[in-house]
């Protein structure tokens, strides 16, 4: 899908532009490089470039230090699907206190590096999950809760929920259960930390390497694909 699908034709633009507020009109802006470009505030700007593999640091000592640092600051995207989203808020209470493990919630994909898929995933939600996952910055990790993300769980025969999450986005750690308690979720975070410290939290690179396979699976499920192929 190209950028043209999201653009209006010239005639449409003319008709619509009569109703624009002044701040929505096209204008010229100077970039930090000194280049002057035209900006249309009503157009979606996004990158169509394919993602790139994030190579580890050449120095093993530095990489080990970076992995330690990454493992100690897991910032979770506040994104809840299914019944597991109820298990996440108790993590932040004094009883379970996920802050002591460096786990904290963030409101936007740009600020976070862990996404928790907390239970069954409808096709409609999968679309939002893919967008959120792709907007997250490297290094990023996926934690899948509950049997629904493993094999569909009790929704194995539903027409509207997916069966296996790892066909659409790469999963680092599965936490089995229906529904796993917050303790199990904390243990999942512990496992994720171990993986990262051992340098095995490279699933984001796997997503890049098998990008076409993942995209084909996603597009097989999502019938009305009306978003860019990669939108980071």
């Amino acid at each position: 899908m190209t950028e043209d699908n999201f653009k209006m034709s010239n005639k449409q633009e003319e008709e619509v532009s009569k109703f624009f507020a002044p701040e929505n009109e096209k204008r010229k802006v100077e970039t930090p490089d000194g280049e002057i470009i035209e900006i249309n505030p009503l157009q979606d700007y996004f990158s169509d470039a394919r993602p790139k593999v994030h190579h580890p640091n050449t120095s093993k000592v530095v990489e080990k230090f970076l992995n330690w640092a990454r493992a100690e600051s897991l910032w979770v995207l506040g994104f809840g699907t299914g019944c597991g989203s109820i298990e996440i808020p108790p993590l932040l209470t004094p009883r379970f206190d996920a802050f002591r493990f460096g786990v904290q919630m963030r409101p936007t994909p740009r600020q976070s590096n862990v996404i928790i898929i907390s239970g069954y995933l409808a096709v409609k939600t999968l679309k939002r999950v893919i967008r959120s996952y792709e907007q997250m910055q490297n290094p990023k990790y996926v934690l899948a809760l509950g049997s629904c993300t493993i094999n569909g769980g009790m929704y194995f025969d539903s027409y509207n929920t997916i069966n296996r999450l790892d066909y659409y986005i790469p999963v680092d750690v599965y936490v089995a259960g229906c529904m796993p308690r917050p303790e199990a979720l904390l243990s999942g975070f512990g496992k994720l930390k171990e993986l990262i410290k051992a340098g095995k939290g490279e699933k984001a690179n796997e997503y890049v390497e098998k990008f076409d396979w993942y995209k084909a699976n996603q597009k097989k499920i999502i019938q009305d694909w009306n978003m860019p192929d990669y939108n980071w």
């Binding site: 409808a122 409609k124 027409y159 929920t161 069966n163 296996r164």
Partner: protein, 186 residues
């Protein structure tokens, strides 16, 4: 409630009147008079609260059963008005002008059962399913398990064994032959 029903009976042809409680009654009415009756109850009998609009698929009879559930807040009356419509080219008169929330119910029924409500705002827009191109999923001829298996990459289930033969195989990998047994006995 009884006097209300008597009053309605003089005006409409009601069938299958069934009291679930003293203040809850289910009744069936022909497709043509349904919206009439709903309007009448709202405007003259004080049924100001619309509870729900639901559908049941009677596939053997080739019918959809729509239920309009109304509530009378002052006297705590509930009334459920049922009507049967044809399954093929299912179509019903829209009631969105009576309560705005009926628009949403009708969008849902359009998507899940394929019932058309001409004139209802946004009835053809996507409601929950985005870009659905199969038969409506809540119709009973739709095989949801088959669809799930064809679409969602099912994970292979774990292997199951017959306990008797499996334990026998595991504990006694090869059965001792009769010759050997005889020799050891001697």
């Amino acid at each position: 409630m009884k006097d209300l029903l008597e009053r309605l009976n003089t005006k409409y042809n009601l069938t299958d009147i069934k009291y679930q409680r003293d203040n809850l009654v289910f009744l069936t009415i022909g497709k043509e008079n349904t919206i009439d009756l709903v309007t009448h109850l709202r405007d003259y009998e004080g049924f100001t609260h619309f509870v729900l609009l639901s559908c049941v698929d009677w596939i053997e009879e080739g019918k959809f059963q729509l239920t309009y559930f109304l509530n009378q807040p002052e006297r705590k009356y509930d009334i459920a008005i049922r009507t049967m419509i044809d399954r093929d080219n299912a179509e019903m008169v829209s009631a969105h002008h009576l309560w705005r929330q009926i628009t949403t119910y009708q969008r849902e029924l359009r998507e899940m059962y394929g019932i058309n409500f001409p004139g209802s705002p946004g009835v053809d827009e996507n409601f929950i399913l985005e870009g659905w191109d199969d038969i409506p999923p809540m119709r009973r001829e739709f095989d949801t398990k088959q669809y799930s298996e064809d679409t969602f990459f099912p994970r292979e289930g774990r292997k199951t064994h017959d306990p008797a033969s499996y334990m026998k195989e595991k504990l006694y990998p090869t059965e001792p032959t009769t010759d050997k047994v005889n020799k050891t006995d001697e």
